[in-house]
Each structure stands twice: as structure tokens, then as C-alpha cells.
């Protein structure tokens, strides 16, 4: 996804009252995170589960939050999602960079990248693939979800290999 679209997504979410952006950096989301760092709005944690925990504390304070991560980190977070976010019905937006979407991505990303759609479906976590064309509609969908006290995910495909 192009740098300027990623920046616009960040600006759009902050304009629409997302107050906290926490997580572990991912190169697919590089420009989104860069924009947040520029505005001093990013909290980088040591692990993805930790970011979710802090975001849950913020959501309990009625402060809308987004947690960003790579899909490898999403796999790390499964137990936290089921036994905290879903069990207590905490409204959070997950923004996930999808490595291994391309079959010729680096070897460590291939298997987890292949199962990413099945993994999120089996967890019953509502999600949308966010693209350069649909980003605004997808953001509005996610904002509506958390307004209705539901967690959800936006996934960004890694459509290049470096």
C-alpha cells in the first residue's frame, strides 16, 4: 500500500476519534506508523499481547484504541484475543500487516501467511482486507464496529517483496 494512503488512513482514524495507537512495528505498515510517530501518537510495546493488554485498559477507560502488528504477531496474540478481548467483549481495532500473502515472501512468513485468512475466520473475529481503493469504507466499517462495542480487524496485504 502506497505511503500517502497509509498516512491518510492514520489521519482519518485520528480525526474520527481513535485516541491510542499501540503495537509492534511491521514493515508493511511502515508509513502508517511513521505518520503516528511524527504526531507523537504511537506507543510501541515489547510484544503484541502487551499492546493488547494496554489497549484493553484504555478501552475500559472509554478511550478508543487501535493495535497494530504483523500477522506473525497476530498468531502470538490468539490466546489474548480469545481469553481477554472476546471474552470480555472489548472494542478494539486490530490493524494487521499480512506477510506471506505473496507465495515468494521470505520463508519464515510463508506458512503463517497461508493460514492467516482461516485463522482469523476460525476465531470469529470480523475483518476486512483494506486496500487503496476501499480504505475509507473499511475504516468507517471498523469505527462503526467499535462504536457498537465489537472488536474487529483490518488487514493490509504485503504486495511486494524486498
Amino acid at each position: 500500500m502506497k505511503p500517502n494512503i497509509q498516512k491518510r488512513i492514520f489521519d482519518y482514524l485520528i480525526k474520527n476519534k481513535i485516541q491510542n495507537f499501540l503495537g509492534v512495528p511491521d514493515s508493511t505498515l511502515k508509513y502508517f506508523i511513521e505518520q503516528g510517530l511524527k504526531k507523537n501518537k504511537i506507543l510501541i510495546t515489547t510484544r503484541e499481547e502487551e499492546a493488547i493488554g494496554i489497549a484493553v485498559g484504555m478501552a475500559l477507560s472509554q478511550s478508543p484504541s487501535l493495535v497494530f502488528m504483523q500477522n506473525a504477531g497476530f498468531a502470538n496474540s490468539i490466546s489474548t484475543i480469545t481469553s481477554l478481548v472476546q471474552l470480555y467483549e472489548i472494542p478494539l481495532i486490530f490493524l494487521i500487516g499480512w506477510r506471506g500473502y505473496l507465495k515468494n515472501d521470505a520463508p519464515e512468513h510463508v506458512k503463517i501467511g497461508k493460514v492467516q485468512p482461516k485463522l482469523i475466520e476460525i476465531l470469529d473475529l470480523d475483518y476486512k482486507i483494506i486496500t487503496e481503493k476501499n480504505w475509507k469504507v473499511s475504516c468507517n466499517w471498523a469505527l462503526k464496529k467499535i462504536q457498537n462495542q465489537k472488536p474487529c480487524a483490518l488487514i493490509v496485504k504485503r504486495d511486494f517483496v524486498d
Partner: protein, 190 residues
């Protein structure tokens, strides 16, 4: 740390819970939540029944967003060891209104008393490296004294409470998780 008879977890939890009255508590999963539920249930207790290790992170998020309230984390050694990075994040963001109490029996008691390594590496020294004010206590009088002292200090503070193992167990938290959440959120508004 003064020498004397160590408390068991449930006694130590009761002492702290009574001493801090209505302040919100985020209690780690396992016997910690169960003991707190049995000795001092109140709406401002958040019982984290799953997501092992994350009580301190939830507490950090709450403290950063509610500067006027003081949050107490009731953690265990096993829980803290699963999320040691949390000490780094707390030490960097320095919420003044966060008091992290670690009840340390050097064991995973709720899974059968298997050992943790907190006997060999002292968790208060790890927290000190993360620039958190720390105290280590082992007796009832020391615990009460340090709790009093923390009221005059600014956080983040970590109190390591050395406790002994015990066969005494408490009943499970018998409140729906969504109810735990709603009454906790309601208590924050007061």
C-alpha cells in the same frame, strides 16, 4: 526485607485490599483473582480470568487514561515472568498513579505448585533496572508500613511481597466476564 514468618497469599491479599479501600485493582488470573474475589469483592476489582501475564499491561493502560485515580495491580511471580517487558514499558511511561504489587511464592500455584525462577533472580531488582521504585517485604508489619509509605510517594512503584506456598484455595470468580467489565467501568465513573 525484615525477617519473620511469611504470610500466605490469601492473608497478604486481604491486608492489601483492606488497606487500599476503594481504589481499583486489576487482579491476575489464577488464585490471585480467586482469593481477592473471596476476601474483598467490589465493583472496582477487575478480575482478569484469562490472558496470563497481562494484568500489569491492563493496569498501565488504565493508569495512563485516568490520571486522577490510583490503580493497583495484583500480580504473581509466574504472571510477571510471562510479561517482563511490561516493566520496561511501565518504567518508560512512568504513570504516577500505578502501584504494582507482586505476590511472590516462587511457584505456579494454581497449576500444581511448579517452581518459577523468582527464587534465583529477584524480581524487584529487575524492576529497579527499569527505573521503577521498588520495595521488598516479607512480614505483615512490613507490608502495612510500606503500603502507608507508598501513599506519600509518586509511582510507578513495585512492591514485591514474598509469601509462602499454601494449600488453601478459593472459589472461582462467579461473575460473567462482561459483568466484571461493566461494573468495573461504572466504578471508574464515580
Amino acid at each position: 526485607m525484615s525477617k519473620g514468618i511469611l504470610l500466605i497469599r490469601k492473608e497478604a491479599i486481604k491486608i492489601v485490599a483492606e488497606k487500599i479501600s476503594d481504589n481499583p485493582i486489576i487482579a491476575a488470573n489464577g488464585y490471585l483473582s480467586r482469593d481477592l474475589y473471596e476476601v474483598c469483592d467490589k465493583p472496582s476489582n477487575f478480575y482478569m480470568i484469562g490472558s496470563m501475564g497481562l494484568a500489569s499491561s491492563i493496569g498501565l493502560g488504565l493508569a495512563l487514561k485516568n490520571r486522577k485515580k490510583t490503580f493497583y495491580i495484583f500480580d504473581g511471580d509466574g504472571n510477571l515472568l510471562m510479561n517482563l517487558g511490561s516493566l520496561i514499558t511501565i518504567g518508560v511511561h512512568k504513570p504516577k498513579n500505578l502501584i504494582h504489587i507482586v505476590f511472590d511464592n516462587s511457584s505456579h500455584e494454581s497449576t500444581g505448585g511448579q517452581p518459577t525462577e523468582s527464587k534465583n533472580i529477584q524480581l524487584d531488582s529487575v524492576a529497579r533496572s527499569a527505573k521503577i521504585k521498588t520495595f521488598k517485604v516479607g512480614t505483615k508489619s512490613d507490608l502495612i508500613k510500606k503500603l502507608e509509605k507508598t501513599k506519600k510517594l509518586t509511582g510507578p512503584i513495585l512492591i514485591l511481597v514474598k509469601i509462602s506456598k499454601s494449600k488453601k484455595t478459593s472459589k472461582r470468580v462467579n461473575i460473567e466476564p462482561t459483568k466484571i467489565k461493566l461494573r468495573f467501568m461504572e466504578s471508574l465513573r464515580n
